[in-house]
């Protein structure tokens, strides 16, 4: 089993900020919009070098989405940024009508997703965004796992023509993927090959899955771990290939168990290859205030919970 180590911890939103900084230098069509959360989105380096390509929308997220749609006329590539809660549920009709249905090249970039924004509590945490976004026809949905992958994904989506939802977060987590990685939209990343259970994880849960893999190995269980950074389009081929080998599944996501990655995988299994599946996800609940670590523990989203789910899945084979 491949060992993953890290020398530093960083937040994925800073990976986004670094990606935007690079895009600012590479692609003159990229414009950044923000609904008065510049610091939270780590946009300062982009703004400093490209003040003419930064659009301050004020606290009016719905207008930001409409503006972004309009900005695409003539070839601009708008990156609309705010917290995940305000980037999705608050403005769903704007995204649906003006971006998705109208098929406009808008990148909706959402920070502070999931439980791990912490103490701000359930008003600012969102656990439904992946579901809302993946249900929109034509929307690409991406949830990278660490700083480097978020940076690479940010750069990659500028070259992709079409609406994208890019989700990232606030807490500092281990940086364990390559700094010079090439991000391929829709292509699952094999983290560790194994034979006993397939663990499909996304976002912050990938690092938890890696730790779970080591804990399982200590107990003689050989887990395959795959990073599903792109929820849509889903890499069905990679999922099926893995399940053919292992015969059971754990899905792990910082999201409601309804409507997220787990359900997307379950659809694939139902259609092509029946196999027991265990969800590691929030059990249809809002979040609450707490530290990220406290919340992940309380809502069942740690390596330990993935280990337990893996054992349950194996027992059901």
């Amino acid at each position: 089993m491949k060992k993953y180590t890290f020398t530093e911890k960083k937040d994925t939103r800073s990976g986004f900020g670094a990606g935007m900084h690079e895009l600012g230098q590479q692609n003159p069509n990229v414009v950044a919009l923000c609904a008065d959360l510049v610091g939270s989105l780590k946009l300062e380096p982009f703004i400093k070098e490209n003040p003419d390509r930064f659009i301050q929308c004020g606290i009016s997220e719905a207008n930001m989405i409409g503006l972004s749609a309009g900005l695409t006329i003539g070839g601009k590539i708008p990156f609309a940024t705010t917290f995940a809660n305000f980037a999705t549920g608050r403005v769903y009709d704007q995204i649906r009508q003006s971006v998705a249905y109208s098929n406009k090249n808008v990148k909706i970039c959402a920070s502070h997703a999931g439980l791990t924004l912490g103490e701000d509590g359930a008003t600012h945490q969102i656990l439904e965004d992946l579901g809302m976004m993946k249900m929109l026809p034509g929307m690409t949905v991406i949830n990278p796992c660490d700083y480097n992958q978020t940076k690479a994904a940010t750069i990659a989506i500028a070259d992709y023509e079409g609406p994208v939802y890019l989700r990232f977060g606030r807490p500092v987590i281990p940086v364990f993927t390559d700094a010079d990685q090439k991000f391929e939209i829709g292509k699952a990343w094999m983290v560790n090959e194994g034979t006993d259970v397939s663990i499909f994880a996304t976002g912050h849960m990938v690092w938890e899955a890696i730790q779970a893999g080591e804990m399982l190995e200590a107990e003689g269980i050989n887990a395959e771990i795959i990073n599903i950074h792109t929820i849509k389009p889903l890499d069905e081929e990679a999922i099926l290939k893995s399940v053919e080998k292992t015969g059971c599944v754990v899905s792990a996501e910082e999201h409601n168990r309804i409507g997220g990655l787990g359900d997307s995988i379950a659809q694939v299994l139902v259609k092509h290859k029946l196999a027991p599946q265990e969800y590691v996800a929030v059990d249809d609940s809002f979040g609450e205030s707490g530290t990220p670590a406290q919340l992940l523990e309380k809502y069942g989203l740690t390596a330990k919970h993935i280990v337990e789910a893996a054992k349950r899945a194996i027992a059901r084979k």
């Binding site: 009016s60 409409g66 749609a69 309009g70 900005l71 003539g74 009508q97 109208s102 406009k104």
Partner: protein, 275 residues
């Protein structure tokens, strides 16, 4: 018909477009007639006299789709065969404008309050790119109930988008009531002036005056986005529809259709009826 012809005597085209709108809704046995007739003269002024190839026009009040389709048909973008499919299975011309089909319909509209944000984004993009173009948006007065309209308005003011020309079709009626009784006066000259739009009030059925007003506003490169509050009559051109709430939704029966077309011909082409 040249632009000069239309400017000098717009009755011909206004009448023709009205007949097209009536024909479309009658064949489809569908409504949204009144709200199409209230804005069609505004669309003549913008689409036939003012809009250059590089300008954009967003029909934010997408429920007036038939008026837009009629205009785009006369302008040659929508064929007669396509127009015949209005409301039919598989059509490119549904009740509310669908995107991805025509250059003249770049966005889905009809869910209210989306048009001004989009048009504002287009205006901003043009400014950033240094293009000397105009972004037109046609809103219903009811749409000024929507918060997004005001979000976009403040954005346009803050960013000095004087290339944004918003036209409000102020027919005084919205979905289920008179606008002043539903949510008060959200489309008043005073309000739009007060927040910082350069605002004018015009007769929304006087094509030449509308066009001249836009000509004048275009010369005001003063950093102020433009608002044209166009006083209109819902159902304009058909006496039994005028200022009647129900003609927001109702389809016409055969007799009503015949009366409507006769009236339009009489009013716009000076054709005497046999009645």
């Amino acid at each position: 018909m040249t632009a000069e012809d239309i400017f000098n005597d717009p009755r011909q085209i206004s009448g023709e477009l009205r007949l097209k709108v009536l024909g479309l809704y009658h064949k489809a046995n569908a409504g949204h007639i009144g709200c199409s007739l209230s804005c069609i003269d505004l669309m003549v002024a913008v689409l036939f006299l003012q809009k250059s190839a590089d300008d954009t026009f967003i029909l934010s009040k997408g429920h007036a789709a038939a008026a837009l389709y009629a205009c785009l048909n006369t302008l040659g973008e929508i064929t007669d065969e396509e127009l015949d499919t209005f409301y039919l299975d598989g059509t490119t011309l549904p009740a509310h404008p669908a995107p991805r089909q025509y250059k003249g319909i770049p966005f889905a509209t009809g869910s209210l309050g989306h048009g001004l944000p989009i048009a504002t984004g287009i205006a901003h993009a043009a400014k950033v790119s240094g293009e000397d173009t105009y972004s037109f948006a046609l809103l219903s007065d009811g749409e000024t109930n929507e918060g997004t309209t005001w979000e976009a308005a403040h954005y346009a003011i803050q960013n000095q988008l004087d290339n944004l020309i918003m036209i409000i079709d102020k027919n005084g009626l919205q979905g289920f009531g008179f606008t002043d009784q539903v949510l008060g006066e959200t489309a008043s000259v005073e309000k739009w002036n007060a927040i910082g739009f350069e605002t004018i009030e015009i007769d929304g059925h006087d094509v030449a005056s509308i066009s001249m007003a836009i000509d004048e506003l275009k010369t005001h490169k003063n950093g102020l986005p433009k608002a044209i509050i166009a006083n209109t009559v819902k159902g304009k051109g058909v006496s039994y529809m005028e200022n009647k709430l129900e003609w927001h939704y109702l389809p016409m029966n055969k007799d009503q259709y015949e009366q409507a077309t006769l009236e339009v011909k009489e009013r716009y082409f000076n054709e005497l009826t046999n009645a």
